[in-house]
Symmetry: D2
Subunit: 336 residues, 4 copies
C-alpha cells in the first residue's frame, strides 16, 4: 500500500483527494495536515466523511510525515507551497504539488504573475509537469510533479493534437472557458455567496489570468515553437466542471472527419480522454477523472471543446493519476 499524506487537507482539493484515496485499492491515507486553526476530525471539517474516514487533520510535523508517508499530495496555495516542498522532498517523499509554484519554468514569468520571488529554483528545475497524456514518461521518473492547473488541463487536452501536428496558427488561439464555483475555493466571498453566484455568470481576469503563461509554456513545448493564447475565464452557477471552447485558425485545409480521426488516434491509448462525436457536457464528466473532447472544422475555423471536472481531472484526480504512474501502479486505480 502506498502511504499518502495530504498537506493542506482542509480545502476542496484536499477533500477531493481524500475521497479518491478512500476508494483506492493500493493506497491509503496516513496523514492529513492543515494550518492549526483548520485542524480536527476530517468528518467535522467535511460532513461527507462521517463514518468513512476517522482521521484527524493535524498540524504538519515533518518527523511524523517522514515516518509515515511515501508520497505527499501538497494542496497548499500558490506561494505557500514552495516553502514546504523542499522539506517534503528532504523527508524522502515523492511530492505532487497542486500549486503553480513548480509549473512555470521561467521564474521571471512566475514572478511577474505571482508578484513574489521564487524561492526554490533547484526543485523547480527538476519538477515535471503532471499532464500524463503528454508527459507520462517523464512523470514515471519524477520525484516532484507540478500538477497542472485546472484550466490548462482542459485547454491543453483540447488542442494538443492540433499543436503537435502543427495544424493551426500559433499566434491566434482563443480559449474561452467557464468554471464551476468550486474553482473559487472554500473561503466564502461576496462573489461566490450563493445569492450572488446562483443564476449568475460572469467573466473575470480579462487578459491577465495566471493560467495563461502556464498554457502558453506547455503549448509551446507541444508545438515546438512559441504559442500565444488568449485565455478568457468565466465563472458559472454550478459546482463542478470546466467547459473550454477553443477557437483556432487552421494553417491549411482541415476537415472535421480528419480531425476527429486525428484526435481519436492521438488519444487512443489514453484511459481518461474520450473523443466525442458532439460537443461534450460538463455534467457527463462531473465527479470523474475523464476529459471529453470534440473537435470540428467549420466556417474556416477549427473549434475544440473539452469538458473536465475541475476538482478531479483538473486537480485531485490528476494528482492520483500521477501518483499511480510514479509508483508503477495501474494508472486508473481509484479513478475509474
Amino acid at each position: 500500500m502506498i502511504r499518502v499524506a495530504i498537506i493542506g487537507a482542509s480545502g476542496y482539493t484536499g477533500a477531493e483527494s481524500i475521497e479518491i484515496i478512500l476508494r483506492h485499492s493500493e493506497a491509503e491515507l496516513v496523514y492529513l495536515t492543515a494550518l492549526p486553526e483548520e485542524c480536527g476530525r476530517v468528518a467535522d471539517c467535511f460532513g461527507r466523511f462521517k463514518g468513512r474516514c476517522d482521521l484527524q487533520i493535524e498540524p504538519l510535523d515533518f518527523d511524523k510525515l517522514k515516518a509515515t508517508a511515501d508520497v505527499a499530495l501538497c494542496c497548499l496555495p500558490h506561494k505557500v507551497s514552495m516553502g514546504f516542498v523542499p522539506k517534503l522532498l528532504d523527508a524522502g517523499l515523492k511530492v505532487i504539488d497542486f500549486s503553480a509554484d513548480y509549473r512555470l519554468k521561467d521564474t521571471a514569468v512566475y514572478e511577474k504573475f505571482y508578484e513574489v520571488k521564487h524561492t526554490d529554483k533547484p526543485n523547480l528545475e527538476k519538477a515535471v509537469y503532471g499532464l500524463p497524456e503528454l508527459f507520462r514518461e517523464q512523470i514515471k521518473r519524477a520525484t516532484l510533479v507540478a500538477n497542472p492547473g485546472c484550466y490548462p488541463t482542459g485547454a491543453l487536452l483540447a488542442i494538443a493534437p492540433l499543436l503537435k501536428e502543427q495544424l493551426v496558427e500559433t499566434d491566434s488561439i482563443i480559449v474561452n472557458a467557464v468554471t464551476g464555483a468550486s474553482g473559487a475555493g472554500r473561503n466564502p466571498s461576496a462573489k461566490f455567496h450563493f445569492p450572488n453566484m446562483n443564476e449568475n455568470l460572469f467573466a473575470y481576469g480579462v487578459g491577465s489570468h495566471r493560467h495563461t503563461p502556464e498554457m502558453e509554456q506547455i503549448a509551446g513545448e507541444i508545438a515546438g515553437c512559441d504559442v500565444e493564447i488568449f485565455f478568457q475565464p468565466h465563472a458559472g452557477p454550478f459546482d463542478r466542471g470546466i467547459l473550454s471552447t477553443v477557437y483556432c485558425q487552421p494553417k491549411g485545409k482541415a476537415g472535421s472527419e480528419g480531425l476527429l480521426k486525428l484526435y481519436s488516434d492521438f488519444y487512443s491509448d489514453e484511459p481518461f480522454v474520450q473523443v466525442c462525436q458532439a460537443p461534450p457536457a460538463v455534467k457527463d464528466v462531473a465527479g470523474t477523472n475523464y476529459c471529453h473532447i470534440f473537435v470540428t472544422s467549420v466556417k474556416g475555423k477549427i473549434v475544440c471543446f473539452s469538458a473536465i471536472d475541475n476538482l478531479v481531472k483538473g486537480a485531485s484526480g490528476q494528482a492520483v493519476q500521477n501518483m499511480n504512474i510514479i509508483f508503477g501502479l495501474e494508472e486508473t486505480l481509484g479513478l475509474k
Copy 2:
C-alpha cells in the same frame, strides 16, 4: 409624492425596497443611508441599479433626513434598529421597521430570544404589527409599523382563517418551512458559500428560531387564546421564496371544500392573497408581493401550504404595502 428614505440600504431588503420604490408612481427615493464603510453609489453596491438609480448611499444624518423624507423604511438588523427608530420618529417621519425590535409585545420574550435588553418600550407599545390582511385598520393610523418577519408572514397567512374560526387545536400546530438563501442576508458565510449551499438542503434553528414567539403572539391575537406553534425552518438552494407547510389538528369535522370556501371568503378582498386549488409553487410568487395558499383536509389533518417571496411579501413589498396604507394611497401601488 411620498418621499422615502431607506435606512440600511446596503443589504438585500434595502435593495429590494429601492427596486420597488423605483417603480412606484407616487413615491420617490430621496435618501439612502448605511454604515460609512458601505456608502457610495448605489449602482456600485448593487450592479442592477446601473442607469436606474443615481443616488448615493450616505452615512445617516438626521437633519438631512428630517428635511427630505416623509417615511423611513428602516432595514437595520435586530437590536440595532431600536437605537435608531426613536430618532426617526422624533424627526417626524413615519417609520416602517424591518427588524424584530418592535414585533414582540412582551419584552421578556424579546429579551430571552434576542439576549439583549429592550431599550425603547414606549415606542414598542405604540408599534402596529404590519400584516395588512389582519391589521389594516390599525396600520392606517400607525406612526410606527413593525414589519413582520418573513416566516411569520407565510405561516400566519396560511393559518389565519383556521385560527379566526377556531377550527383547529391551538396546542399542536406544526409549521415546516423552507426559505431561499437570500434569507441569510448579504454577508458571505461558510453555510451559504455557493459550493456548500448549491445542491443542498438542511434544517436549522431546531425548536429555537426567533420567529417562533412572533408567530405565537400574532396567532394568539387572531385566535383569542394562547397558541403553541412548533416551527421548523430549513434553507434550500434557491434565491427567493418561502414555502410553508402547516399541519393542524382539526377540532371537528372539516371538509376540504368547506375549507377552500372559508379561505376564499376570508381573503376575498385581499389584493395579494390568492387561494389556489392545488399546492402553490415558490416560483409563481418569486419577485412578487403575492401569497399563494392552498388548504385541504386529509387523513384527519388540515394541511395548509403558503408560498411567498421572502424579500417581497416577506419584507420590502409588505413594507411598501404598509406605507401605501399609512399614506392613504392605493394599497397595490408599486406592487402589482
Copy 3:
C-alpha cells in the same frame, strides 16, 4: 465475481446501478436490458459512461439472462415489474426489485394505491423488504428482495429506534420530506422542465402519496402495532437527495441526550447510518449510500431529521447493499 444483470437499464436507477457495479470489486455487469426503443450503447444513453462501460443495452432475452447472470437488479416501473419478476426467478436468478410491486403485503392496499390487480401473490409472500438495517437476517436468506422506496428509506431510518422502543405515539407521526428532482425519473415533463423546476419548490401528492402505506406497513412491523403516518412530499431544485423532517409526539419524557444515545446504540453496527450532532445536510450524503440522522427533543416534541441520496441509499446503493448481503459479500463493497 457476481454476475449482475440490470433489467430496465435506461432510467436513472439503472444508470446509478451501473455506476456502482463498475466500482464493485466482486461483481461485474454482464447484461443490460431495456425496451427496444431504449437500446443501444450504454455510453450513448448516458454520456458519463463513455470509456467506462462498453456494454450494449439490449432487449431482454430470458435465455441469455439465464445463461449469463446470477442476480437481476430489476429497475422496472411499478405494475410492469410483477410481469417480469416471476420469470427472472424462474430463470434461477436472485432478484432485487426496485418497484413497489413486492413491498405491500396487503394486496388490497396495493390495489387501492396502484389501481391495478396484483398478479404475483405467490412471490409477494416470499419477498423480503430490503432495508438491511432492520431486516438483514431475512435478506440473507431471500431470493426476492423488495428494495424499499426512497422516501420510506429516509423516513423509516429516522424513526425506527423510536418505534422499536415505543417512545412515541403511533397515531400522529408527520413525515415532511423534500426530494431532489432526479426522483421524478428520466422522462421530461412540464413540472421538471428546467425553467419550471429551477428556483422552485412545491408540495405534491397531498395525503395520497403511494409511499404512505409502505411507511405505515414497515413502521407497524417495527413498532408491533398499527402506525399511522402523515406523509407530505415536496420537490426541490437540486438533483439528488431526500431530507426528511419527522415530527413525533413522545409518550413520556424524552431528553435529547438520551435520544442521541438511543440512536447511536441502535445504529452502532450499521456501516451506512451516521447519527449526527446537528441537523444533516443533503449535500453531505449526495452520491453516497449513507444516511445521516439527527434527533432531538424540543418544545414537547421529538423531531428527527434524515438525509439520504434518493438514487443511492434510496434505490441503487441499497439494492447493491442487499445484493452483497444475499451473496455473503462484505456489505459495503462498491459502496464506500
Copy 4:
C-alpha cells in the same frame, strides 16, 4: 391607452410580454391568443398571474382582433409567423414580430437556414429591424418590426461601436455566448429536463446556429461592409440571461480607455445600455431590459462583454420598447 394583443401568449416570451404590459401605464392587454389546446385562463397557464390578470387565452379571431387591438406582439415560432403577420397587418394593427421570419432580408439565406420557402416577401421588405439603439428612426415609422433575436441583441450591442468606427477586422469576429435555459422555450425536452440541465453546461449549434446570418446582416449594415462572425452558443444552468464574450482583432492600436470612452459616447443617450468598468454579470440584468457592456484592449485583442436578459431585452422587453417608439410614448414605459 394602447390596446395590446399578444399572439402566441402561451410561451415564455408571451408570458414575459404579459408581465411587462401589466406594469405599463399607457398600454393594456386586450386580447391573448394561442392554439386551441393552449387556451384557458392565463393564470392557469402561468400560475404567477393569479390575481394579476383575469384574461383568457383564446383561439385567434381576426375580427375580434381588429375590433379590439392597436398592436400585436406576435410571439409565434419561426415559419409559423409569416402565415399570420400579413393578416395582422391587414387588420390594421402595428405588428412586432418575435420570429426570425422578417429579420433576414435575403430570402435565400432565410430559406437555407430555415429550410422553408419564405411566403411573405412584400412585408419582409417593409419590416424594420427592431434594435432601437441602432434603428430608432426607422422604427418610429414602422408598421412591422422584426424584433431581434436574443443572441444578436447581445452580440450586436457589444460590438456596434467598433463596427461603426471600423476599428476591428470584419472577417474574424468570434462571438462566444451562453444562454440561460429559458431560451429553449416552454416545451419539455431531454436536454432541458432539470436532472440533465442542472449542474450542466454545453455548446450546441456549432457553426450552424440560425442567429449567425442575422448577426452578420446587421453587423454588415453597421460597418458598411461584409462582416463575418463566428458565433458559438452554449446553454447553462440558469433561467435567464445571455452573456456574450466577443473577441475582435483591432485594425490599429486601440487603448482600453479610449474604447470605454468610445462606448460611453456611443451609448450616452441610450436608456437601456450601460457601459461598465468591469465585465458584466448576468444576474445584474436578469429581469430587466438593460444591456451591460464592458470593452477592453488586451494582449493584442479587443474583447467585448455584454449581458442581457434573453426574455426581456432579448425578446419581450425590446418588443415593448419598440412598441413605445412606434406609438410615440416615452421609450422606457413599463421597462424601468
